[in-house]
Every structure is written in structure tokens, then in C-alpha cells.
């Protein structure tokens, strides 16, 4: 299990990385943590002409927090993000999710940007970004563009990134008032990619009704999804509503099938975990409203 021969390119600046991407296009792979890409390289599933190692682009390890968003550089390691108070308090859903990502020995090296670039449909970081309505910042020689997370993930391992683009940052909306967050997943083993992962961000008004709701699903279809819950805005933020939402969404999805689970079971997990997560997001929101 050894990779194909490739040229090794280690840019010192993002501009140099741009040059390399322009030169190799789709024939190069960008490596950050390499936790997924390394395995695919070793198995020769991926056969690049060149490997562009961005690990020394220190500018991509920056974190910027403004009034509305936290911007995490693509190279921020998952374990490092967990230790950043600003990110953890500003993006509570990410704080809940990160301990579920891989293992101690992979979070130490795996990056936030790498997880987004890899786009595994079960991965927690893309799900979180989609649920929160975040975005991915891409840079090409022509400049930067921000792609809403919902448009970024196209399918299993496929994204909106063009061959000449580099993910430079993930953009996370900061926590909002009266808003609660919850996450849960089921995997066959601890640390495995989830069979189904669900995340929710819910805002509950003073009247106890749903003011806003984002209900995200991972591992169900070939990309992380946000369910359409518009018709539930204004409904009471109760367990019964949560169950109804989850049941409706479970019927609407078109789940994938793999060795771990068939479509019916994935639907069932959407129902069960969905109800739990949406209702606990309600509870968290209510708690946050009362605390405020």
C-alpha cells in the first residue's frame, strides 16, 4: 500500500499555492492534515501528479472573530479549535461536535478546512457548517469568493471548489441570542463516521414558539443537508413539534445505503435523533433566553 509517485510542492505563501494550483489544476491534491487524503493516497485511490502541502502556510492557521462571525483558517487543527475559548463560546455547536470528530490521535492533526474539503457526507464539521449557515472562503488567482456551505457540498467527496482554488477559511456565524444548539450521532463504533448525525440550531421566542430553526442531517444523503422546516416557524417549541418535524423530514429524505445501514434505518435515526436534538435545541434556547 504505497502511493503513486508524485511531485512534492511546499509553498511558503498562499500566492505560491495559487501558482501551483494554476500549474497542476486537477492533477494536484492539496494536503493539510492528510488524515483522509493520506489513506486514499496510500491505497492509490487518488493518483495525483503533485501534492501541494499547505501545512507551512501559517497565515491559514489564523482565527478572526468579529461581531457576527468566527473565521477559522483552513489549517486550524480540530484539537486546537477545541482549545480556543473564543471559538468554543462563539460557536457552541462546533464545541459540541468536535469531540465526536475522529479520535484523539486524528483530531491533533486533522484540520477544519481539510474536513470541509474532503466532504464526507457523514463528517461532523461539514454538517455543523451547513446547519449554522456558514460559508467556505475559497481563493484562486482571480481572487476570493465565499460559498454558502449549503452550496459548497455537492456530494460524496465532491464540492464546489474548482481545481485552481484553495480553501482558506471557514466562516462560522456566532451564537445568537435566545438560540440553542444540539448535536447527536450514532455510529457503529465510537469515533467512526456517523451512520446518522443530526445537529440543530433553534431560536425560541418569548412566546415559547419557534422563531428560527436549522435542522441539519449528516450521513443520510450524499452531502450534509439542512431540512426545510419553514412551515414550523411560529409553532410551539415542544417535544411534540420536534417529533413532528423529525418524522416529516425522515419521510422526505432519500437515504444512502451502505454496509452499516439501509435506508429505512437511516430514516428511523433521523426520526429518533432528530426529535431528541431539535427538542434539546429548543430547551437550550429557552435556557439561553431565560439566562439572558
Amino acid at each position: 500500500m504505497k502511493p503513486v509517485a508524485f511531485e512534492y510542492c511546499r509553498p511558503d505563501t498562499v500566492d505560491e499555492a495559487m501558482e501551483l494550483l494554476a500549474e497542476f489544476g486537477g492533477d494536484a491534491n492539496v494536503i493539510s492534515g492528510g488524515l483522509s487524503l493520506g489513506a486514499m493516497l496510500n491505497m492509490r485511490l487518488v493518483r495525483p501528479t503533485a501534492l501541494i502541502d499547505i501545512n507551512r502556510l501559517h497565515e491559514l492557521a489564523d482565527i478572526k472573530i468579529d461581531d457576527a462571525t468566527a473565521m477559522t483558517g483552513a489549517l486550524v487543527r480540530q484539537a486546537a479549535a477545541l482549545k480556543l475559548p473564543g471559538v468554543m463560546s462563539g460557536v457552541p455547536l462546533l464545541a459540541k461536535v468536535l469531540p465526536w470528530v475522529g479520535h484523539y490521535q486524528t483530531r491533533s492533526r486533522g484540520t477544519l478546512g481539510g474536513s470541509a474539503a474532503h466532504a464526507d457526507p457523514s463528517a461532523e464539521i461539514p454538517l455543523t457548517l451547513v446547519t449554522l449557515g456558514g460559508a467556505v472562503r475559497l481563493r484562486s488567482p482571480g481572487g476570493s469568493r465565499d460559498v454558502p456551505a449549503q452550496d459548497f457540498f455537492h456530494g460524496l467527496l465532491t464540492t464546489d471548489r474548482r481545481a485552481d482554488e484553495l480553501i482558506t477559511d471557514l466562516i462560522w456565524p456566532l451564537r445568537r441570542d435566545k438560540t440553542g444548539y444540539a448535536f447527536e450521532e450514532i455510529a457503529q463504533r465510537h469515533g467512526d463516521f456517523a451512520i446518522v448525525a443530526v445537529a440543530a440550531e433553534a431560536t425560541v421566542g418569548n412566546d415559547g414558539n419557534i422563531a428560527d430553526l436549522s435542522f441539519g442531517l449528516g450521513g443520510v444523503e450524499d452531502r450534509p443537508l439542512v431540512a426545510d422546516t419553514a412551515s414550523y416557524i411560529g409553532k410551539p417549541a415542544t417535544m411534540a413539534t420536534a417529533e413532528e418535524i423529525a418524522a416529516t423530514v425522515a419521510e422526505a429524505v432519500d437515504p444512502m445505503v451502505d454496509l452499516q445501514a439501509n435506508a429505512d434505518y437511516r430514516r428511523q435515526l433521523v426520526r429518533v435523533l432528530g426529535a431528541r436534538v431539535v427538542s434539546s435545541a429548543f430547551a437550550d434556547a429557552t435556557h439561553s433566553r431565560e439566562a439572558a
Binding site: 485511490l45 467527496l157 444523503e221 435506508a263 429518533v272
Partner: protein, 994 residues
């Protein structure tokens, strides 16, 4: 308490292992750490990605021309160099370690590249061009047994390659007089203990005289040495096997590397250089060895009072594509103990071995035990349910009683000692069984799924090499000549400096042989274990080995340690004789204590043992009369009870019979299928404990293996016999968070068959945990119709009465009948329709237009029309950076103008292959529009199926989308066009429709 400094007696002490320091500091050497000979080159094996196919041609020229490549060896060259490897069953199958003209399972070697390094070797195997003619394939023994199944080995005339029936007592009468008969049908999954270190070896052929040396992590048994010399055509002393000082786990799996040893030996001979091969994990998961999967049934006859009157076992073993020695032993290892722990006398057994297009099976922890107990201990539980008796009680009523030992089992085993009820009682106590039952009632009244299950088993250890010959009829055995025994050997030597060295020829892979042997010898010689060095590796030219040597069937603590003790006693005796003469006392008055030979009761009258030892080397003339100089003793021990099978097919299959009783309580979440092991108790009788740390380690380790088999681990094949569990992300080994708390109980009935009173004990709960947990799950779910592993999806389905089969698996439902072998069934299927804004005639024309196809088939670089309705294409498909070049053939069949056609095609490339067919119909949809309906089914194999199974769905969708976008543009440019997302060409490149 650890005992490292002083102990009255080292055996039985909690003495930390001698092996550990080297392993903990990176100083231990494994096979891939050795460079025993200069000029080693590195190999990679091209393996079949087809489950069953004729090899039409192999072109190695491009691979051979790659710089850095030393040579390429194919099956033809191997067949010119060696003979087929002999088998334990007499069937006309030529078993070579590499495919000659046919491949019979995915992972079967097809060619070997030898190069400067492994990287280049892997580059080169991609350049070998093999043309296959695929054949129908199956991984399911029930399908392979069916009448119209394609034969794997034509000369055998059947896929059932071994069939024997056995009767002990009068089973028919027992079933006749039974009050209740309980029957279970089931499948047992295929899994493997997957040692963390894979196979590894270095093969070197030298001339003048012709001889082979093989360094490896092979575990034995060395009876396989005879098979290897048979294949290589050399006398025994011209095949030198040397094992690495350390082996990274085996659990039986490293027994089955011997065909690879033969293969690489042949390559070394053909290419004239030493060749190293280190198996990688992907190879290991498809090409090494596994435990047997089974499609069995069992019937038990009970009297109303719970007495077990008779048993009928119908065993169908999926042996894989070849009967690799020592198979069919997996179904015979437990055979002579077919009564388990019970007094039942009437037993019928029918054994069938079936070849399928899967990896050959072999030794795996518990060898045959989990499958056997899955029958016996579930049917006991089912009997208890049927009779309304507590499952503990029904076992009590049938256990062999303590005063019946040694117990002669109906099929020939002699159980040495035991107290099965005592073990059960201890487990009941540790589990607080009554409280557990109360908890079950409470849980059930809350609507929860809570179950309790148990399993009792004996653990045969120290195998009789002759039990394998049960595969032959008594007449065949008589003709072949007698077979019996299970020799254990050990050497204890003291060099002129007084250093003590023990050689055990026991090839451990983590079982602590060095420590335990040192404890035994330290006791005998009055030393500390750290003063005794133990060499466990083997060199067949210099070690005292025999057919049974090696590490399997728990033979170390049942047999080998007896040989160690015996050799140490001989050395001790000699030291005492010499010391007695020097000290002028009788030998009986000398004891060996604290490094001295001293007079009993007069410790100041003493000689250092090392001085006595030195005398045997430096001053032989000064030794007592008639005494041989030097201080070396080798014991070759044959446990006397290991006789040949008799005419009634009874054989004493093993030396010691340990005992395990396991109890599990589980709760299954009806909504999610999550299973929680609320309680797990395991009680063991291992005879006298030799080292508590080692024994405990084996118990915890065996439990984890059993747990894996119960909950997670399965090597899944699809209906086309394509393996689906190709990586450690697909084959799910148990990890720390899944292991529940284990409560261990011990009691000892010392074995009279072993001087130390010890019994073998390495299998333990690896045999029983799958059954105890299955019984608990069955109790929770209210049905015995369950199948391991108890994955979340399956648990949820069973809890809710839904169809019950592993997602993605090709296996028939539990209890389902045989099905037609079908290349496509269980593969990828899908259908859909598209509305196009052009009339059917126009769509038809465009569909059949080669230029259009060339333009719209995704990644099509070249499309040639090779017949009226036949095309070939070169296609590059790159999805998610996974890019491959594929050669495709497309044939159009059953064309009805502007109405329908059938497409049959196949494609292959470096990442795998696909074959499939699609049906397309066109309907006028009014207003110059056409509805195009399609359906397809396809079979995808090769690397992408084994390791990228999850990707296929997305790839299909993307390709179909690309195709129709292209078709759309084409239609538009010819004046019309409306498309949807789905199409049919994607099936050529594989895809599971979501």
C-alpha cells in the same frame, strides 16, 4: 501483588512478563525488522479482482520493463517450478499458491513482481495486463451447493468437496422417545481475528545443493513443513524455516501463510534472489485467512424433565475457494467433544464442506468452537424456553458430574477434570442472577427489551494431530496408515558460565511463553525467572521440533510446558547428583534454592548451581560414574492419551479440557437498535494457574474477540462474491469504548493430564461470548431468528419485526433457502425515467449515434464501433480526485426501432471493474416529447468495491447527471432537449442508486 523478587514458588505467581521490556522500548524484532541475508528484493502481489474468472492472457512485458523491477513471476512459471500443495482431503483439486488458468476468489494471487522496493513493485503490478473471462460466482455455500451452481473445481464434480456422517449412541431412538425436539437453522458470519502484524517473510533459494531458507512470522504447526517440502520438491532438511523473534499476534491466522511461503520460495528460485514480502492490510483483509462462516442447523431432543437425550448437527462449512490444510479440521476440532459439557450419549453429525468464491478459511481463535457452541448452547437455551425451564437449570440437569471424571465422551474425547456446575453457580453468584432476572422483569414492564443469555463450554487444548483424519473414513485411514499424537518438545541447557537457556519451539505471538517457561525452570533449578532466558523462535535445522510444534490449540500450557518441566527436572536431577557427590550426601538430600544446590536443612552446606554446571563442561572426568558431560536436556513428550481414531470414528482429540461459563445481560434500544451489555460474567477453570497476568490477559483478550464477533466484525461479500470489507474502516474491530466491564471468576480443577495441573486456556470467551450475547439478544428480542454480528440496523429491524438482513450484504435472510447464483443480484440496481423534448424517433437516432455517445459518455476519450451494435471505449473517470482510466465494451441487443433496447457492457481499469446491463424503453409522451424509461443492474468489483464501497452511489449519480447534461446539449443542438438527472450509462462504471 506483583512478585518479582522472591517467591516460594514462581509458578502461579503474578510475575510480570519477561517479554515486555524489549517490546516497550522498541527493541523487539519482528519479521519486517530483519535483514538476515544480503541483496534482499521486495515483492508485491497482483491479486485477482474477479471472484471467478478464466485467465485468458497475462502480459507482464510493461511491468518487467519498468526500471527497478527485477522480475515478474506468473502462475505458469510457478507451476513449472513446484508441485501442487497437498491437501488433507482426497479430492482432485490442484492447489497452487497462485492462480494458474483460473481465479476463484478476489484476492487470489495472479502474479508476483520483485523489485528494488515495494513502491516500485506496486507500480509494476499496475502495469500487468490480465485478460479475464468472468464466470458466475458466489460467496454463499447454500447457493454453491445447489444443483445448477457453477463448479469451482471441475474435476471434483461438485462444490461439496467433503461429506461425512457420524453416529454415536442411538440418535434416532433418542429423537423417537423425546418429549420435545427443538431445531434451529442459522448462519454464522465470516470474521477474522486480524492480527495487528500482517504476514511477512523473506524467501531465499540457494544452489549446490538446492535449498530454501524462509524467515517468517509463521506460527506452525510444522506438520505443514511436510506439505511445503512436498510442493517445493525438496527433502525436509533443504527447507529451513526460521521464525522471527517476535510475532505481532496471530490467533491462528498466521498458520495459513504457508502457501505464500511456498509462493515466494518459488519466486526466489525463479528470479535467483532473496525476496521479501510484507503483506499489507488490504491484502490481509481479502487474501489471508478467516474463520469459517457456516450455514448449519441443529436439533436437540429433550425429555419433559429437561434431560438432553440426543443431538443432531448438520454442519455446512464455507471452506473458501480451496481446501487449504489443515481444513476440514475446523469442523473436526470440536467433533470428539460434540456433547459439550453434557452427559448426552446419542449424537448424529453430518459435515459438508463447500467451496465458494471466497478466501480459503483456516485457524482462527477458538477454531471451530464459536460455530459449534452457536449450535449447542443456543439449542440448550431454546430447549429451556420450550420446556419452560430456567436456562441455568436445564444446564445443571445435564452437566457431567464432578465424580464422572475422567469422562469418556461419546465421540472419543477424554475430559480430564472439571466441575461444570460449580462454574455455573459461581457465575450466577457473580452476576447476582436473581437480581438480574428481577431487573429484566422491571425493564420489560417498562416496555424495554432486556435479555439474559448464557453459554457453557469446554475448551479442548493440546490437539491430537490425528483428529484431522476424521475427514477420512475408517477404511481410508487404515489404508493410509496410523496417525496419532501431539508431540511437545523443549530443551533446557546450562552453559559453562552457568547461564540457563530454554528452547520451546513454541512460536508465541504474545502469549507469554518466555515468562511461563522461565517460571517453571526457575522453580526446578532454584533460580529466579530473570536468570532464565527462553528462546521461543524456531529454526527447523537446529531446533528440536516435530509435526505438532508451533502455537495453536492452546498447546503451550497443556503440552509444551509439560515438556519444559520435564527437561528442567532432568537438569535439576543431574545437578543434584553432581552436587550430592561433591557435598558427600545422598542426592535426595540436595535441594536447589536461591542459586545454590544445598543440603536440606543445612543451607550453609551448599554449592552454587553455576559451579556445578561449569563442572559438567570444564571437568567431565570429575563427574559421577556413567554420567554424560554437559548439561543439556531435551524432552520430547507425547501425551499418552492421544491415540489414533478408532473404527467407530472416536478419537481423543485433545489433552486437557478447560471450562468456561459466560453470562450476558443486554438491553436493546427498540428505537435505535443500540445494544448495551449491562452485565458480563465469565468464569474459568484453567486448571492450575501458571501466571495470573498471562491468564487474565488471555481471558480479557478472548472476550474482546468474542465481543467483536457478536457485535461488529464481519467480512461481507456481495452476491457476486466481491468482498466489501476491504479496510479497517469497513471491517470494524472492537475498540476500547465498546468493551463493557467484565467480571471474571476462577476456580480450578487441576488437570491430571499435565504434570503442572494446568490446562490450555487461550480461546476462552472468544468461543462463548458470541453465543452468550446472541442468547441474551434472543431473550430480549423474543426470537432465535437473529444473525451475528448484532449490528445496530439489524437489532432495530429485529426489534420491530422488519426484514432482517445486513445492509449491503448478499446473504440470504436467516433461514432463507438457496437461491440461483446470479452475477448481478445484490449488486447495484436502479431505474428511473427522463422526459426529453424530442420525438422517440429522434431520441432513438441520437442514442445510437456513435458520435453522440463519444461526446456525451462522461470522460470518453475514444469510442470505436467494432460491430454493428458493438462499441469499445476508453474512458477516464475522475470523481472526487479518484481518477481512473477504464476500457469499456458496450453491446446493444434486442433493438426494437424507436421503442426499446438492451445494453450489455463491461468496463475495467486499475481501480476495479464493472459489468452490467440496462433496459431502455422510449414512449411518445405527446407534443413531440419522449419518456425514456430505464433500469439497470450491475456488479462492481475490485479495489473500488472493497475499499470505496460508500463512494459508488455518488459516482453513479454524478456520471448519470453528466451523461444527461451532455445528451441534453446534443438534443438541443439538434433542435430539442429537456433532461432530468438520471440515466443509464453510469452503470458501466458502477453505482448503487441511493
Amino acid at each position: 501483588m506483583l512478585e518479582t523478587e522472591t517467591a516460594e514458588r514462581w509458578i502461579g505467581a503474578r510475575y510480570p512478563r519477561k517479554e515486555d521490556a524489549a517490546l516497550l522500548t522498541g527493541n523487539a524484532r519482528f519479521i519486517d525488522d530483519l535483514e538476515p541475508v544480503a541483496g534482499i528484493r521486495h515483492s508485491a502481489i497482483l491479486r485477482s479482482d474477479h471472484a471467478h474468472a478464466c485467465i485468458v492472457s497475462i502480459d507482464t512485458s510493461k511491468a518487467a520493463a519498468l526500471p527497478g523491477v527485477h522480475g515478474v513471476v506468473t502462475g505458469a512459471a510457478v507451476a513449472d517450478t513446484i508441485a501442487p500443495i497437498p491437501s488433507a482431503v482426497r479430492v482432485p483439486i490442484k492447489f497452487y499458491p497462485i492462480a494458474i488458468d483460473k481465479v476463484r476468489y478476489v484476492g487470489e494471487p495472479v502474479a508476483v513482481v520483485v523489485a528494488e522496493d515495494r513502491y516500485i513493485a506496486e507500480d509494476a503490478i499496475e502495469l500487468i495486463d490480465v485478460v479475464y473471462e468472468p464466470l458466475s460466482a458466489t460467496a454463499d455455500p447454500k447457493i454453491a451447493m445447489s444443483e445448477n451452481a457453477l463448479l469451482l473445481h471441475d474435476d471434483v464434480g461438485s462444490n461439496v468437496v467433503h461429506h461425512r456422517t457420524f453416529r454415536y449412541g442411538d440418535p434416532e431412538a433418542a429423537f423417537e422417545r423425546a418429549d420435545r425436539v427443538v431445531k434451529l437453522d442459522w448462519r454464522y458470519p465470516r470474521y477474522s481475528s486480524t492480527p495487528m502484524e500482517t504476514y511477512g517473510l523473506i524467501a531465499n533459494f540457494e544452489r549446490q545443493p538446492d535449498r530454501y531458507t524462509l524467515w517468517s512470522n509463521f506460527q506452525g504447526p510444522f506438520i505443514l513443513h511436510a506439505l511445503m517440502t512436498g510442493a517445493l520438491g525438496v527433502p525436509g532438511n533443504r527447507l529451513r524455516l526460521i521464525t522471527a523473534p517476535h510475532s505481532g499476534g496471530s490467533f491462528g491466522i498466521k498458520q495459513a501463510m504457508f502457501p505464500y511461503m511456498v509462493l515466494l520460495a518459488a519466486c526466489s528460485r525463479v528470479l535467483g534472489c532473496p525476496v521479501k514480502w510484507i503483506e499489507d492490510r488490504l491484502e490481509h483483509l481479502t487474501g489471508s485467512s478467516t474463520a469459517a462462516d457456516r450455514a448449519d442447523s441443529v436439533e436437540a431432543a429433550f425429555a419433559e424433565d429437561g434431560e438432553l437425550l440426543g443431538l443432531k448437527f448438520d454442519n455446512v462449512v464455507n471452506v473458501g475457494a480451496f481446501v487449504r490444510a489443515p481444513e476440514p479440521a475446523s469442523v473436526y476440532r470440536m467433533h470428539s467433544a460434540s456433547n459439550g459439557c453434557y452427559r448426552v450419549k446419542n449424537i448424529a453429525v453430518e459435515n459438508r464442506l463447500v467451496v465458494t468464491n471466497t478466501t480459503p478459511i483456516g485457524l482462527n481463535r477458538g477454531y471451530g468452537g464459536p460455530q459449534f457452541y452457536y449450535a449447542l448452547e443456543r439449542v440448550m437455551e431454546a430447549g429451556a424456553k420450550e420446556l419452560g425451564v430456567d436456562p441455568a437449570e436445564i444446564r445443571r440437569r445435564n452437566f457431567i458430574q464432578p465424580d464422572e471424571f475422567p469422562y469418556k465422551a461419546p465421540a472419543g474425547a477424554t475430559y480430564d477434570s472439571g466441575d461444570y456446575e460449580a462454574g455455573l453457580n459461581q457465575a450466577m453468584e457473580l452476576a447476582a442472577y436473581d437480581d438480574l432476572k428481577a431487573a429484566r422483569e422491571n425493564a420489560r414492564s417498562d416496555g424495554k427489551l432486556f435479555g439474559i443469555g448464557m453459554a457453557a463450554g469446554i475448551e479442548p487444548s493440546g490437539s491430537n494431530m490425528a483428529y484431522v483424519t476424521l475427514a477420512q473414513t475408517p477404511e481410508e485411514r487404515a489404508k493410509a496408515g496410523g496417525r496419532s499424537g501431539g508431540l511437545g518438545t523443549a530443551t533446557v541447557s546450562v552453559d559453562p558460565s552457568g547461564s540457563v537457556t530454554v528452547k520451546t519451539v513454541s512460536t508465541p505471538a504474545g502469549q507469554g511463553h518466555q515468562t511461563v517457561a522461565a517460571q517453571v525452570v526457575a522453580d526446578a533449578l532454584g533460580l529466579r525467572p530473570d536468570q532464565v532466558d527462553v528462546i521461543t523462535e524456531v529454526d527447523t535445522l537446529t531446533s528440536a521440533w516435530s509435526l505438532a510444534s508451533g502455537n495453536y490449540a492452546n498447546r503451550f500450557s497443556s503440552v509444551v510446558i509439560g515438556a519444559v518441566a520435564d527437561a528442567a527436572d532432568k537438569v535439576a536431577k543431574k545437578i543434584k547428583l553432581i552436587a550430592a557427590e561433591n557435598l558427600e550426601v545422598a542426592p535426595e538430600d540436595v535441594e536447589l534454592v536461591g542459586g545454590n544446590a544445598q543440603v536440606v536443612g543445612v543451607p550453609e552446606k551448599a554449592l552454587p548451581v553455576r559451579r556445578v554446571a561449569a563442572q559438567t563442561h570444564w571437568h567431565p572426568a570429575g563427574l559421577p560414574d556413567q554420567m554424560e558431560p554437559g548439561l543439556f536436556e531435551t524432552t520430547i513428550m507425547n501425551p499418552e492419551m492421544l491415540d489414533a481414531p478408532d473404527e467407530q470414528d472416536r478419537v481423543a482429540s485433545a489433552v486437557t479440557f478447560g471450562y468456561v461459563f459466560d453470562l450476558a445481560a443486554v438491553e436493546i434500544d427498540r428505537k435505535t437498535g443500540e445494544i448495551e451489555i449491562v452485565k458480563y460474567v465469565s468464569v474459568h477453570d484453567v486448571g492450575n494457574v501458571l501466571n495470573e497476568i498471562v491468564v487474565e490477559g488471555q481471558i480479557y483478550g478472548g472476550f474482546a474477540h468474542g465481543l467483536g464477533g457478536a457485535l461488529l466484525e464481519e467480512l461481507v461479500y456481495d452476491a457476486g462474491a466481491n468482498p466489501q470489507s476491504g479496510t479497517f474502516a469497513d471491517y470494524l474491530c472492537i475498540t476500547a469504548p465498546e468493551v463493557p466491564e467484565l467480571t471474571i471468576g476462577h476456580f480450578n480443577t487441576p488437570s491430571p493430564h499435565n504434570t503442572l495441573g494446568a490446562k490450555g486456556m487461550g480461546d476462552g470467551s472468544s468461543m462463548l461470548a458470541p453465543i452468550a450475547i446472541a442468547n441474551a439478544a434472543a431473550d430480549a428480542l423474543g426470537t432465535f431468528d437473529i444473525e451475528l454480528p448484532l449490528t445496530l440496523n439489524k437489532n432495530w429491524a429485529a426489534a420491530n419485526g422488519l426484514p432482517y438482513a445486513r445492509a449491503g450484504s448478499a446473504k440470504a435472510k436467516v433461514g432463507g433457502g438457496p437461491r440461483e447464483a446470479d452475477n448481478f443480484e445484490g449488486g447495484l440496481t436502479g431505474d428511473g425515467s427522463v422526459e426529453l423534448s424530442a420525438p422517440p424517433e429522434e431520441v432513438w437516432k441520437l442514442l445510437l449515434d456513435p458520435d453522440t455517445l463519444a461526446a456525451v459518455v462522461p470522460g470518453c476519450e475514444e469510442l470505436n464501433q467494432v460491430g454493428e451494435d458493438s462499441f469499445t471505449a476508453e474512458v477516464t473517470i475522475g470523481v472526487a480526485g479518484i481518477k481512473g482510466v477504464y476500457s469499456a465494451e458496450i453491446n446493444l441487443r434486442d433493438k426494437i426501432d424507436a421503442q426499446s433496447l438492451r445494453l450489455v457492457g463491461k468496463a475495467s481499469g486499475a481501480l476495479g471493474f464493472g459489468q452490467g446491463e440496462g433496459n431502455v424503453t422510449l414512449e411518445a409522451a405527446g407534443d413531440s416529447r419522449t419518456r425514456l424509461n430505464y433500469s439497470y443492474r450491475a456488479n462492481v468489483g475490485g479495489k473500488v468495491a472493497a475499499v470505496g464501497q460508500r463512494m459508488l452511489g455518488t459516482v453513479t449519480k454524478l456520471l448519470i447527471g453528466q451523461f444527461f447534461r451532455g445528451f441534453d446539449r446534443r438534443l438541443k443542438s439538434s433542435g430539442a432537449g429537456q433532461t432530468s438527472r438520471k440515466g443509464f450509462f453510469g452503470r458501466l462504471f458502477g453505482g448503487r442508486d441511493a
